[in-house]
């Protein structure tokens, strides 16, 4: 569907439902929770390089998912919580390029910045 201008788009094409809208129901899910749909989120994160491939993802909010979310949040300049908060879910549902953000663990869109893990460490200096 290629339209020369905005007004030429027929109204019946004005739909915004896409598969990623399903992730909205995962809001508030926390580590240790088991919720239908988390496996699909893991598949999404695998598609873009945040989780290594696996033959079958479970619906458990496990440390692997938490770590992947932290890296995702770092890459997209979000608060690094490792949780499925509003900001993270909104970002995940946006249309995007199909090329992974992380390729073979050797190319990262935010390679110069700390990952979620180290970003959450607290450092203190005594004076």
């Amino acid at each position: 569907h290629i339209f020369p201008n905005v007004s030429s788009i027929p109204s019946w094409l004005n739909k915004t439902n896409c598969a990623w809208n399903q992730f909205q129901k995962l809001k508030g899910c926390r580590p240790g929770d088991r919720l239908n749909g988390l496996s699909n989120l893991k598949t999404y994160l695998k598609q873009f390089g945040y989780i290594p491939p696996s033959p079958n993802f479970t619906d458990l909010f496990d440390p692997l998912l938490q770590s992947a979310l932290q890296t995702y949040q770092t890459n997209f300049n979000l608060n690094v919580t490792g949780l499925l908060d509003d900001q993270t879910l909104a970002q995940i549902q946006l249309p995007r390029c199909g090329i992974p953000d992380i390729i073979n663990n050797s190319s990262s869109m935010n390679s110069g910045k700390p990952t979620g893990h180290s970003a959450t460490h607290f450092h203190s200096v005594s004076h």
Binding site: H1, P4, C18, W20, N77, P95, C97, I99, S107, K113
Partner: protein, 200 residues
Amino acid sequence: YSFFPGRPTWPSHRRHLTYAFAPENPLSDEVKGVFARAFARWAAVTPLTFSPVESFRTADIRIGFYAGDHGDGEPFDGVLGTLAHAFSPPSGHFHLDGDESWVVSGDLRSAPMAAIDLESVAVHEIGHLLGLGHSSVEESIMFPTITSRTRKVDLAADDINGIQELYGGNPDGNLTPPSTPSPPSVQERDMSRNGAAPRL
């Protein structure tokens, strides 16, 4: 900015690249002009030049609109979701999701929710074709997501720094990127050089 693993680029003896459209996608000159403008944006800041050719099979960069599974192991997913993908150099494959509502021109603010600006996505994917990965700089073209009904076509400093690390700058200095709606095409500019090496 980032690069693909191994930092693949087009080899140094190939600074003029050709592109063609899949023969099964009959595209208007207006649509082809969108891609010409997108290529010109990268040509303005690099030593690279681009020109359209008829032969899809022999072109360096092959552009096609496809729906669903289109044979490269990365099927498209219908409306929104994944919009397009392009492969690292020197592959030259540039695929767009044929199920999207691609818009060529006009005020996107009044567009339906699913409208996607074609030139915005084209500029991004050409970055991949030239060797750039994704960037965390939200203003950059190579940021992975784009909001529907949004036009984002200007290269940011992050994009320019990244591509110039791979290819160097334009020997004529960074040129002003083309303005919409109807700049001369890359080919038109090339033709003004009396057969000299094509340049913007």
